[in-house]
Amino acid sequence: MCLGIPGRIVEITDAENSMALVDVSGVRREVNILCVVEEGKPAQEYIGEWVLVHVGFAMSHLDEEEARHTLQLLEELGELQEHLS
């Protein structure tokens, strides 16, 4: 129940109610994006962003830089070991 799926915002369908179309692995779904938009910033500016979708709501941005950083740490874990062994 607590799993989320990454998707990309492709279209704002109802700016007033913060509804957008999100592409989740090729399937477009209408999703509420209120939790990931800043107040005062037009919803249009979020088109193209990666979000985590959860029971019809985008609950978080997916941060590319942090993702790369986490993968990098995993990579270094290996290098450290090769060094030790």
């Binding site: 129940m1 607590c2 989320g4 990454p6 941060d63 986490t70 995993l74 070991q81």
Partner: protein, 387 residues
């Protein structure tokens, strides 16, 4: 899929696995007895079984599968209450699919649906609101379940209903909160955990701060963890590193999704629509202070419990069920005498056998059931006093 495939890379997994073995070996040089690490969240339990992560770990590490599966801790009496609501002729009762097969004292929602109750499975609470809009002469009730991950979505749906002036929509609220549940586990005198993998999607909503007490008051390390196999392995290595260095801190492995402060709009919506209960009954764990929430007074008209009378009867688990002991990590699922006997995924006796996030269902699906049964028989021959 973006940020999914990268976290399933077998090469990186092997490296993380080796690191875990190395750390565990060093820790075990100066301690006896296994390291007990709890993954609180049912989503993690699911990943662990699906990818066979336990088989990758050294013997010294025992994963304890915690109670973070919302349908698993739903008391039987609450299922009965849900059924009473669903059987009212004016009601369309809506729910996530996970809850359909949870046994009440006589029936599950699925059985009631077969008998003619208007029960519908939905993907989102917003779909329930849509149904209410389309069926103004009916009352649409949404079975609100889950920890803080799902709470903002139901709260925002109530706020939307208020904005639109929809009167025939209400929640049957069974939301529970994570931190008090973890605290109850830590306060249990039988508990001997060495660290926690904390739920990533709960943390995405509430942030890091609510977990600080685990590190500060209970001196246990905790790592906020994502849901791919590499996330779990990396977090286990981070926990072991803390244990080796004698640290207890809240660390965040899932930074690509979880921000330190959590999600502000989600928190605001929750604070408006929900208020804490003094005590809430969790199946198998008993009554826990402040773990559950109900709908706050200003939104009382969206509360199905205040709109309709409910039986509200507490029903104990069937005799012989060891669900509570499994949830607390005191026994493994296969050690329950009902496991794969009178309790199976097709005919679940306890809720842990219902959802793919429940520990018993996970064992039943992914482990070799025959071997486990033999193991149990051998254990009871060796120790006839045990259950």
């Amino acid at each position: 899929m973006k940020y999914v495939d990268e976290f399933r890379d077998p090469d990186k997994a092997r490296k993380a696995q080796q690191q875990i073995h190395r750390l565990a070996e060093r820790i075990m040089q100066c301690r006896s007895g296994p390291l007990l690490l709890m993954e609180f969240c049912g989503g993690h339990t699911h990943t662990i079984f699906r990818y066979g992560i336990e088989q990758l770990l050294p013997e010294a590490i025992e994963l304890v599968h915690g109670p973070g599966c919302p349908v698993c801790v739903l008391p039987r009496g609450r299922v009965d209450d849900a059924l009473a609501l669903a059987q009212r002729p004016e009601v369309i009762f809506t729910t996530f699919g996970d809850a359909m097969r949870v046994p009440g004292s006589r029936q599950s929602l699925l059985q009631a649906k077969t008998d003619g109750a208007d029960i519908r499975m939905l993907y989102s609470p917003l779909d329930a609101l849509k149904l209410a809009r389309e069926n103004p002469q009916r009352e649409v009730i949404f079975f609100a379940l889950g920890f803080e991950t799902t709470m903002p979505s139901t709260a925002l749906t109530v706020l939307q209903a208020e904005r639109e002036g929809i009167e025939n929509f209400s929640l049957f609220c069974n939301h529970i909160t994570t931190a008090p549940t973890i605290e109850a586990i830590l306060n249990d005198p039988d508990m001997k955990l060495d660290g926690f993998l904390a739920p990533g999607h709960v943390s995405m909503v509430i942030g890091e701060a609510p977990f600080a007490f685990v590190a500060e008051r209970f001196a246990k390390p905790l790592v906020i963890t994502g849901f791919e196999p590499l996330d779990i392995l990396q977090s286990l290595a981070m926990l072991l590193q803390q244990i080796l260095e004698g640290r207890s801190e809240v660390e965040n492995q899932y930074r690509r999704v979880v921000q330190k402060q959590g999600n502000h709009p989600g928190q605001q919506a929750m604070a408006k629509v929900f208020q804490r209960n003094d005590r809430t009954e969790l199946r198998g764990l008993g009554s826990i202070d402040h773990s559950g929430v109900r709908i706050s007074d200003p939104y009382a008209r969206f509360d199905a419990e205040r709109k309709f009378p409910l039986p509200g009867v507490t029903v104990s688990d069937p005799a012989g069920c060891r669900c509570g002991d499994v949830l607390k990590g005191l026994i493994r699922p296969w050690q329950c005498p009902k496991f794969a006997e009178s309790c199976t995924p097709q005919q679940p006796l306890g809720a842990l056998m219902v959802s793919s996030e429940g520990a018993c269902a996970a064992y039943h699906q992914y482990a070799d059931v025959q071997t486990l049964k033999i193991k149990r028989q051998q254990a009871s021959v060796a120790d006839p006093g045990a259950h």
